[in-house]
Amino acid sequence: MATKDFKTEDPRLDPETGEFRVLAPGQDFKSVTEKISGIVLTPKTSLGWFAIFSLGGAVATLVLVAVTWLFLKGTGIWAITQPVAWGFAIINFVWWIGIGHAGTLISAILLLFKQGWRNSINRFAEAMTIFAVVCAGMFPLIHVGRPWLGYWLFPLPNTMNVWPQFRSPLLWDVFAVSTYATISVVFWYVGLIPDFGTMRDRSQSKFAQFAYGLVSLGWRGSVRHWMRYETASLLLAGLATPLVLSVHTVISFDFAVAVLPGWHTTIFPPYFVAGAIYSGFAMVLTLAIPLRKAYHLEGLVTDRHIDNMGKVMLGTGLIVAYGYGMEVFMAWYSASHWEFFMMWNRMFGPMGWSYGILIACNIAIPLTTLWSRKLRTNITFMFLISLVVNTGMWFERFVIVVTSLYRDFLPSSWGTYRATKWDYATYVGTLGLFTALFLLFVRFLPMIPMNEIKMMLPSAKITPKAEPIVDAGGD
């Protein structure tokens, strides 16, 4: 809707609607191509890139060390024991995979809803998805302690004639996550093919021409190809959409099919999905804000994008808040003694601090401030809020896993949970791994889809016939 009172002098606002512009004015096909491919094709790598990449790489070696030690010693080096048999591994798994969801949401659901503003951010959001899934996928694999036996999860013929148990949610996870990873990579790569063609044509060095030529598969932009490509992208989007919703739903089933108080809740699927999108958008902001500053992309990733992402976070944050409320309500309304105790213990027990952080970071701080458009377009504020939400969502998984397990039905089986240095090393290490992978992406691949931005430019509009050309060349 058009707002009536707005200052047309503000260059960030569209003079026709008063909304924030999706793209800054003054862009054309050439400038967009040069801007985006220039970031990759420049032979100079900035010092900042090297600094952050080295830092990320150094932190990533923590994973290597921690995992090597894990494979030598077994999962006993982690804090997991009875009653908390699931610790950081599952917390980090759910957290990372949730972060990935915003990428798919932006690339798929917003494409289906014809939200043009997504075009500036979808490529690196998808990259974020893939790297998040890499980090996420690692945890279920290593948490079995003997990852070389991981193939037991797949229905492969073997000499023991043993087959997997298809009624187990953990097996559903295998299919959900592996499908999610595969489709995300395929969708991402298909999206990159035309841009690889552009990179091939623009690169100066022989090696770059060869490498981009190879991955562009000989793309030449024939409109016949484009039409099939468009159909395939739309179909992939249509297929990825139920995937976004199903993956986190399946992950929530890991918990929800248990009989444990605090896990046994029907609100879990929608509440997990909303939480995933909430943290995913927070991570897109965490990445987009420094990126657009570092590479001067303010014309392509505009205030409108930040504003819109803030709105999505507000919406999904409210669903998450409803989920928390419903958990408390059901604990009381179900009149289940154990459910009620779990909730009371979660809030006021020895680990109540974690619930406090959760409420502060997911509800109290973001949901009171994101209503304000002024704050939503304040870049520093949005960066900080994205960090707050990411922290909050990590604690949400912590609260669900630990505070449900450590005091269950029988006081005789109560215990506690305190993560070891190996737990922290693995978790912090994946943050480094993610950073390092993301920086490689930024350096070697076009981080904004050029062809999709070009479609949004005013010059892409087909204008009605300007001069008579009917008899041109006719006999």
């Binding site: 050439k30 030449r220 024939s222 490509y229 395939a232 050029m450």
Partner: protein, 181 residues
């Protein structure tokens, strides 16, 4: 069967705007050209319409792939759980189909997605790292960046080097270039 002109793939005209390209393509189609193609840096639906390309088979391939995935996984689960390795857990039925839906659903999406992507590439004849158009000097300079091309191919019965060149020049393109094989 039309015979190609020796050594020539076609003649390509370069335009600065998509509108010019669409108008030229419409006119050429109207004048009876069929073996032709447009090349654009982003999808221009009007150009595909102009050269008479309306439908493609990607949706059909995707649907087929999806159904294959669904059948494959559901049958696999049924066979494993009832015949190959039946597990009696608390007396529950071995054929507990509701639990089988989730992996079957995931494989529907997996197979459909792979069919969409690889089917699209196959129908486009990709990967093919060589194409005569890459020989045109102006093509690599802009076809994937900011220029719009119309190529009239030598296989078309109307093709004649001199006449086609003159015909394309009448659309006032930026340049007209012969494409060698």
């Amino acid at each position: 069967m039309p015979v190609a002109v020796e050594g020539i793939y076609g003649i390509v005209a370069e335009f600065d705007t998509p509108s010019d390209l669409v108008r030229a393509a419409q006119a050429a189609y109207k004048d009876g050209w069929r073996r032709m193609d447009c090349y654009t840096p982003y999808p221009v639906e009007e150009a595909a319409e102009a050269i008479g390309f309306h439908k493609n088979k990607v949706p059909l391939v995707t649907l087929t792939g999806g159904l294959m995935g669904l059948c494959a996984m559901f049958s696999l689960e049924t066979w494993i759980s009832t015949l190959a390795y039946p597990l009696n857990i608390g007396g529950r039925p071995t054929y507990s189909w509701p639990a089988f839906i989730i992996p079957a659903y995931e494989w529907t999406i997996l197979f459909a997605g792979l069919s969409a992507a690889f089917g699209m590439l196959a129908m486009n004849g990709l990967p093919s790292l060589y194409h005569p158009l890459f020989n045109a000097p102006n093509f690599r300079d802009g076809a994937t960046q900011d220029k719009f091309f119309l190529c009239l191919e030598a296989l078309d019965p109307k093709f004649d080097v001199a006449e086609t060149r003159a015909y394309l020049e009448s659309f006032a393109p930026t340049s007209v270039v012969e494409v060698e094989y």
